[in-house]
């Protein structure tokens, strides 16, 4: 009987149960529950980046800024404009969708290195606007007193467990979207683009439309996560929108596993606890994390999920979901080509 149980499904079920039970386990330690809630929000953002980087293979360095735009929209509307959280949250989602769509129109004219450079410039530009437009964003003093979601009937969002489950709904939706994408034609088009754009084009994939949708969706998800973060945290500063955020999302993805369903979640949870441990070393943090990210891309480009996958018996494996850097997807280089550089 146990032999017939799909180990992959079992793993997902265990993680889901653990996530659902977190408030019970941490009922005496509100602080740890808050750490997990924050990690879950970052995981949502990582799922956003996962769509464009993990599935489509385009390195976007603007996602920290999209996160920041979502956070600032909720922050500024609920404080300076005194809007309720719910409408501000909807506006944040709409705003990042529009921003993602419009910047995608230009960014996606480029590929590879050009795309990475363009998105880095875009991220920096958004950061500069936040720091310089003091009358709107309060620049370095940031936005404090961001509202919690207002009660819906008897549901009180100031209760940490309620906020946690609220975030968990979006997290589950993000994970499910990734799962659905990987098992749909739309998602397979994205993976085909990652393998080779020319090849994808030649087999009839509409590369431009697929990439535009992937980029817009990933910006929306990052912005949504930013909106949740602003509300939970209560305070946001320009740091919420800097390239450091993008870097952290990259770290979550690499540790968990690029282009996978559970990778962003596992990576975010693991790093959240790592950050807690490294908190005393605030400036040392990136001295440690920089080399970690380099070591990861060299020695473990498939992340935790890649290694867990190796434990799964061959008959449960799917073929279409291998990750970049996976020996199966890297074309065998000719001797001369691999010698070069």
């Amino acid at each position: 009987m146990i032999d017939r149980l799909n180990p992959r499904l079992l793993g997902v079920a265990l993680v889901a149960i653990a996530m659902l039970l977190a408030p019970v386990v941490f009922s005496e330690q509100q602080y740890l529950l808050r750490v997990v809630t924050t990690a879950a929000i970052y995981a949502i953002a990582a799922y956003g980046l996962n769509i464009i980087l993990g599935l489509t293979g385009q390195l976007s360095l603007a996602h920290g800024a999209f996160f920041g735009v979502g956070a600032y929209t909720v922050g500024l509307l609920t404080t300076d404009r005194d809007w309720p959280f719910w409408s501000a949250f909807l506006v944040a989602i709409a705003a990042t969708t529009v921003l993602g769509y419009v910047s995608g129109l230009i960014a996606l004219r480029t590929q590879g290195a050009y795309f990475a450079i363009f998105t880095m410039a875009l991220g920096f530009l958004i950061f500069i606007v936040i720091v310089r437009w003091e009358s709107l964003t309060h620049a370095h003093s940031g936005v404090s007193g961001v509202k919690f979601p207002e009660n819906i009937g008897p549901i009180d969002f100031t209760e940490p467990a309620v906020m946690y489950y609220f975030v968990l709904i979006f997290l589950a939706a993000a994970a499910y979207t990734t799962h659905a994408l990987l098992n749909s034609n739309a998602g397979r088009s994205l993976v085909a683009i990652r393998t080779s754009e020319d090849l994808a084009k030649s087999i009839g994939v509409n590369v431009a439309v697929s990439k535009q949708l992937a980029f817009t969706a990933s910006a929306t998800i990052a912005g949504l996560a930013g909106g949740l973060f602003a509300s939970l945290n209560g305070f946001i500063g320009p740091d919420s929108a800097g390239i450091d955020r993008t870097f952290e999302m990259l770290l979550f993805l690499l540790i968990g596993g690029l282009g996978t369903v559970m990778g962003p979640l596992l990576g975010s949870l693991l790093v959240a606890f790592l950050f807690e441990m490294l908190q005393d070393l605030e400036t040392y943090r990136f001295i440690v994390l920089g080399p970690i990210i380099v070591l990861l891309v060299i020695f473990a480009p498939r992340g935790m999920i890649g290694y867990l996958n190796d434990l799964v018996p061959a008959r449960f494996k799917r073929r279409a979901t291998t990750m970049p850097g996976d020996p199966a997807t890297v074309p065998v280089a000719s001797p001369t080509k691999s010698e070069v550089h």
Binding site: L61, A113, A116, F247, I287, L289, I293, P301
Partner: protein, 288 residues
């Protein structure tokens, strides 16, 4: 008119800095095929090293710049061996992620050693020169002259020396170069060493007229990317033309419009080039 000449001199000095930094970046792109996103952070490190050798070690200015260039050239070889050589068969996304990791490491390291505040480096050469009524500081003249000399030396190195010719050969045709016996690992190391030495010289030249801070590489990094995209990734003439035109556009926009306009000019140029002709003016290298 005096103001114009004054600002033209400033633009040329800034252009010299940009050229040195952009050429190093475009060389690495041409040979290894990925953009080194840590280039701005390495520039910042070059400035701090020059500061260290000049102020703490008490070396003469020229020796301090050369010492910083040697240290960064060595760092380039180490990075190529430890980080990019092991990645040679990975997708280019992985190279770029690794350069982001290097960038964060360097910025955090400098913050740890020298703190997060601003540092001021005394200009070793004071005084000004009067050119057609405009006052131009000696430091800026030194920058312009040094940049021209280094660019000429670099051209000689690339066209005449065996190592330089190997770099050009690999840029033009990797497989062909490997077939005629050029050692690609050696070329990668030399390219990194030259690239980082150039960015260290640029940083050492600019250090006396700018304040030093761990974030000083951020905007330079973007500017040099704008330059090499404008000129065409991997193109040396493109980097030189792009460097001077962006520097002059930046200086003139901030003089005649506003400081913010000078800053925005770079982004406007970058976005316009990417939107209109993503391969740049001299672009021959295919998009990767």
């Amino acid at each position: 008119m005096t103001l114009f000449i004054q600002q033209l001199a400033n633009g040329l000095a800034l252009g010299g800095i940009y050229c040195l930094a952009a050429i190093g970046l475009t060389l690495v792109f041409g040979v290894l095929g990925f953009p080194n996103l840590a280039h701005g952070a390495l520039y910042m490190l070059g400035a701090y090293l020059t500061y260290f050798f000049l102020t703490d070690a008490g070396m003469p200015y020229v020796v301090a710049i050369l010492a910083a260039a040697v240290v960064l050239a060595f760092l380039g070889v180490v990075l190529e061996r430890l980080v990019f050589h092991p990645l040679r068969n990975s997708p280019h996304t992985h190279h770029m992620i690794a350069t982001v990791g290097v960038m964060f490491f360097l910025v955090a390291l400098v913050q740890e050693i020298w703190g997060t505040g601003f540092l001021r480096m005394q200009s070793p050469v004071g005084g000004q020169l009067s050119v057609l009524g405009a006052q131009v500081s000696w430091q800026r003249i030194i920058i312009i002259v040094t940049a021209v000399v280094v660019l000429l030396l670099l051209t000689w190195f690339l066209k005449r020396s065996p190592h330089g010719q190997a770099i050009e050969a690999i840029e033009q045709d990797r497989t062909g170069a490997a077939l005629v016996g050029i050692n690609p690992s050696m070329v990668s190391m030399v390219t990194f060493a030259v690239s980082l030495a150039l960015v260290a010289i640029a940083a050492g030249l600019v250090a006396p007229i700018n304040l030093l801070s761990p974030g000083m590489g951020d905007s330079l990094g973007l500017t040099v990317f704008a330059i090499i995209i404008l000129g065409g990734l991997g193109s040396l003439p493109g980097a030189i033309v792009g460097g001077f035109s962006i520097a002059i556009a930046e200086v003139m926009a901030s003089t005649y419009i506003s400081v913010a306009a000078g800053e925005a000019a770079i982004f406007v140029i970058l976005i316009a080039v990417l939107a209109i002709k993503p391969t740049g003016i001299f672009g021959t290298v295919a998009q990767r």
